[in-house]
Amino acid sequence: MENSFVTPANYKKWYNAFMGVGALTLILGIVFLHPWAGSHGDNLNSTRFWAVLLQNSLYWLLLVNVAVFFIVISTLSMGGWQEAFRRVTEAVGSLLPVMAVITLLIMLCIILGHRTDIYLWLDKDTVSHDKILSVKKGFLNPYMYIVFSVIVMGAWTYIGKKLNKFSRETDEMGPMDFDTSRKWNNRNMAWSAYYLVLYVLSIGSLAPWLWMMSLEPHWYSTLYSWYTFASTFVAGMALITLFVIYFKNQGQLEYVNKEHLQDLGKYIFAFSIFWTYLWFDQFMLIWYGNIPEETIHFKIRMQGPYAGLFYLNLILNFIAPFLIFMKRSTKRNYTIVTFMAAAIVFGHWLDFYQMVMPGTVAKSPHLSWFEFGIALGFIGIIMRGVAKFAEKTPMTALNSPFLKESIVHEV
């Protein structure tokens, strides 16, 4: 079996088409949605433009970040089973710098463009007259936002590259003896531990509060970050699964078999339930307490224009994976896993849509050409980045000390 990947012309055609659609949508958006029209007045198209860009960039950024996080947790827990497809995870993770730059650009545009329709707390006048917002001033301000985003994304990228470099080193090192592999693993573990601390401090707490929860600055939920984490984690695992299946179909990943596929399916199954658990946690406490300043978050989602999506979200992200992935045989079926993984990536994209839109375009949401076009553009970027990584790197890390464990993996 081949261990060097040549991107098929068909694949190239698709990602070029997706990226073309994305670029075209962006241009059409700039022409028709008047992004520079300013946030005053009721120019909702302008708000929609930035909200969609923010939703998509954050979603796909956190998704590729999950790929690095997956490597980190499997390294720290001394996992071996993922070694057969570890390079696919690294390929997805290698997009982190690209996504970080795109996201930062969009964030800078929103902050410097003074888009108070996106982030209400950018308006100093409103903040000084608002009791709740003036208390949150120390956290919700442009300096905090920019500095935090740059530092966090920079650190993610730096450590992601570092871990990637360690993995690439094994290709030149040849088979390792015990001492070398232990040294290699220790270094890997140390950097993974740094990343984990950073990840928990960013995705596990501050980042989603700052980037997404502050779209509705009067409302807060401490669980919001974990909820976002669960959402991105399950969708990220689905994305990795899709690429694993693709590379397997292309004759790469010699040692990946149904055992690995079943464990990936289990990941999606388990974290779909975890996501539901956190979703329900957040929902039930607010529903039960029935305090107006908290229920406002769900009022617009359950009774407003988002009602359909609200229930679709639960069906797509909980009921479908729960019932379909419960059986062993479905987790071992390539077709069903491909279908479900794609459905979950889409389902959590809708979830992010619901997190961002009610706080920005509020009662007049759109789900049409601009939303889907931008999403396709991001998918194209990810597909291209993964293929470029795969062309430069052997897709099976043959000298990895854990590879044997992955080959004999059985569930």
Partner: protein, 196 residues
């Protein structure tokens, strides 16, 4: 039921696997293979069917869900409706935690009991031990003697396939309640019962 068994002990996995394959191909009925630890792929080599434990788990879980929702729904919405904090009479979100707990409880307890039943384990339940080494350092293959089986032929076959310490035992096949020493005595000292 009391049956006669030929017991062969293997000391290595790589001898055991071809032996299992050969014995099955020769048409002898393997009663079971006892190993000190779970051996990968042995279930497949033995041709065991997939367990039905998870199907039962799903059924138990569903029962728990229905009991919880039905019970609370009947009590609070049909039999004795109360106004609790202005909530509806069938407040689904408030019922979810209890439903979840009952689902987990019933499927866990049900599956534990089913597992015990399938493995014939229960407090007080005893089974015949074919070889004490099965829990220590050896793999013990037990072949059931049928009406027309040739005992010597099976013993020779096992020996050819690398088994050591081959013997014939007469034992109760299933499980029983009681003490080991009595039961062991009962079957060990008696003359082998030849089934006609």
């Amino acid at each position: 039921m009391i049956k006669r068994f030929v017991v062969g002990t293997f000391e290595e996995e790589k001898v055991l696997f071809p032996a299992v394959k050969n014995v099955r191909r020769a048409g002898y009925k393997i009663h079971d293979v006892y190993t000190p630890y779970p051996v990968h792929h042995l279930d497949k080599a033995l041709g065991l069917r997939e367990t039905s434990l998870h199907t039962m788990g799903f059924i138990y879980g569903l029962t728990g869900t229905l009991i919880a929702l039905g019970g609370m729904g009947w009590i609070f919405a049909v039999d004795w409706p109360l106004n609790i904090g202005g909530k509806p009479h069938f407040p689904l979100p408030a019922y979810i935690p209890i439903t979840f707990e009952l689902t987990v409880l019933l499927s866990a307890v049900g599956m534990t009991l089913t597992y015990c039943w399938l493995n014939q384990m229960m407090p007080g339940v005893k089974k015949h031990h074919f070889s004490p080494r099965a829990t220590d350092d050896a793999f013990v293959m037990v072949i059931e003697l049928m009406e027309k089986s040739n005992e010597d032929e099976i013993k020779a076959f096992l020996r050819d396939n690398g088994a050591i310490d081959i013997n014939t035992q007469v034992a109760e096949e299933g499980w029983w309640f009681g003490r080991y020493d009595q039961e062991q005595k009962l079957y060990r000292t008696e003359e082998p019962v030849i089934e006609s």
